[in-house]
């Protein structure tokens, strides 16, 4: 089945008439996934939106419960609510790979996060492949591929003027069924693009295990501002804080995005902070992305979308860091050399 790009507008209108629909679009000088409606110009030509789609499943601020106090009495009401079905149209394969990572975090390892789960189950992801990966894209050597997205509900393979439409899940099949009036029979040759930028991840997770004291961390610490940009534009960074808003005798407790780059991220009551130095926070971020997460969930936490490289005010480049780790000597050899 084919979808002519020129006719995508009609399909989007039809989807939006049924349920909430999110598309990549410009928004006041930045870009993100916005609710489709009158006047919205989808930007399917954008490689990556400035802000990642993670807020659709894991909002930047999300109320967990409300409480009210009346003297000694306390009332607590959960803020959990079911989510109506919605479609995200035009996601990139790297962003889809990031959803896989969020799924692993919030839906496995004991506890299921029902706030996330409700949104995840309501979501249909329609992924458009990338015909022309950007210069900072390196998904195909770390986590994904510009031309496939195995966990997407529907895959739209870019074939120039049209997309080749392939449902990949049951949810996707029923979606495509409903799209039939807007699709055309036929075949087209999808563009199987590859990223120019490559990293060699093979040995990185293992090598990092011996690099806790490597000078690389102080070098990156010198360069890094320890602002939270990389963590907020990253589609997979999921760490959050739990805090509250108080108005007199009532309030709400919410979770909000947090960043391992911030000093107050690990500061404990009483003043002890296990990661007080810039170096230790930088190490935590890259160790988490490239080895800790692999140990726990068997995949990299970096999907190679390139957002952090593009937006970092100090031009910290995760691909260069991976290169340096890949090129470093394993710790045992270094020790052996030191003893020699």
């Amino acid at each position: 089945m084919l979808l002519k790009k020129a006719k995508a507008g009609a399909l989007l209108d039809a989807i939006a008439a049924k349920e909430r629909l999110f598309v990549p679009a410009d928004d006041r000088g930045t870009s993100r996934f916005v609710a489709y409606g009158a006047g919205v110009e989808p930007r399917f030509d954008l490689l990556n939106t400035k802000l990642p789609p993670k807020d659709l499943l894991f909002p930047a601020t999300e109320t967990l419960y409300r409480w009210s106090r009346d003297g000694a009495d306390l009332a607590i009401d959960s803020a959990f609510a079911e989510t109506d079905p919605f479609t995200v149209f035009g996601l990139r394969p790297c962003d889809m790979a990031s959803v896989d990572r969020l799924d692993a975090v919030f839906l496995t390892k004991g506890y299921v996060d029902e706030f996330y789960q409700a949104k995840r189950e309501a979501a249909t992801f329609v992924v458009a492949t990338c015909a022309h990966p950007g210069r900072a894209c390196f998904c195909d050597s770390i986590a994904a591929s510009p031309h496939e997205a195995p966990t997407a509900d529907v895959l739209l393979e870019d074939a120039g003027e049209e997309w080749v439409v392939t449902p990949q899940t049951e949810k996707g099949a029923s979606a495509v069924e409903a799209w039939k009036p807007y699709l055309e029979e036929g075949d087209a040759e999808p563009i199987k693009a590859a990223c120019d930028l490559k990293v060699d991840m093979a040995a990185v997770p293992e090598k990092l295990k011996g690099m806790f004291d490597d000078p690389i961390w102080s070098d990156i610490g010198d360069q890094c501002l320890t602002c939270g940009t990389c963590t907020f534009v990253c589609p997979t960074c999921y760490c959050f804080n739990i805090d509250q808003d108080v108005r007199e005798d009532e309030g709400k407790r919410f979770r909000c995005w947090d960043s391992c780059m911030f000093t107050d991220y690990t500061a404990m009551a009483g003043g002890h902070n296990p990661r007080a130095s810039k170096e230790s926070r930088v190490r935590q971020r890259f160790m988490h992305k490239l080895t800790y997460f692999n140990d726990r969930y068997d995949m990299n936490l970096c999907v190679g979308c390139g957002r952090c490289m593009r937006d970092c005010p100090a031009a910290v480049d995760i691909s260069l860091i991976i290169d340096r780790i890949a090129a470093s000597e394993p710790a045992q050899e270094k020790e052996a050399m030191a003893h020699a």
Binding site: D27, R28, G29, V34, A35, G37, G39, V40, R247
Partner: protein
């Protein structure tokens, strides 16, 4: 939280007045002793000196439910600590211009010098500020109109995104 007077339906503002301990607070005290009437909209918060009022208190108050803030201290030259209000004056002049530049109604943040003997001036100031803020209505009224938004906003992605953003802005300053 209900802010309209239940009987009259009239809007009763919340105004926070930072009053210096040595002059304005004494002036407020004297106004009380002389049984002067002034609106109960104003909640007096005693501070050691107008120089103690960190401008961030003002913005915090406006964001936490106050409809107006008044900062009062000794007349320049009369500061109990000799210079505190001179510093306060410079700071508040710049801060006031900054928050007004950012779109706050000027009446919502005012600074006055009121001495310990000026009970009448305290009463008059409070009446004046209270009337001005009653006329402005609650803080939410400071939010921009649709026309103002359209005049300055960049390319808006969608009406819905737009609504979300400005609904949050309407909650307080």
């Amino acid at each position: 939280m209900p802010r309209d007077n239940e009987q009259t339906g009239e809007f009763t503002p919340k105004i926070l007045a930072f009053c210096c301990n040595w002059c304005t607070y004494a002036g407020a005290d004297l106004a009380g002793l002389n049984r002067m009437n002034y609106p109960a909209d104003v909640k007096v918060l005693r501070v050691p000196c107008s120089g103690r009022v960190n401008p961030q208190y003002v913005l915090k108050a406006l964001q936490s439910g106050c409809d107006g803030v008044l900062v009062c201290g000794c007349h320049p030259g009369d500061c109990h600590y000799s210079t505190g209000n001179y510093y306060a004056k410079r700071r508040m002049m710049i801060f006031k211009r900054m928050v007004e530049f950012a779109g706050l109604s000027p009446e919502r943040f005012q600074i006055r010098w009121i001495s310990g003997s000026e009970a009448g001036k305290f009463r008059d100031t409070v009446v004046e500020v209270s009337e001005q803020i009653r006329a402005l209505g609650p803080m939410e009224n400071d939010a921009p109109s649709r026309a103002a938004i359209d005049a300055v906003a960049g390319t808006v992605a969608s009406p819905e995104a737009d609504e979300e953003l400005f609904a949050a802005a309407k909650e307080a300053i």
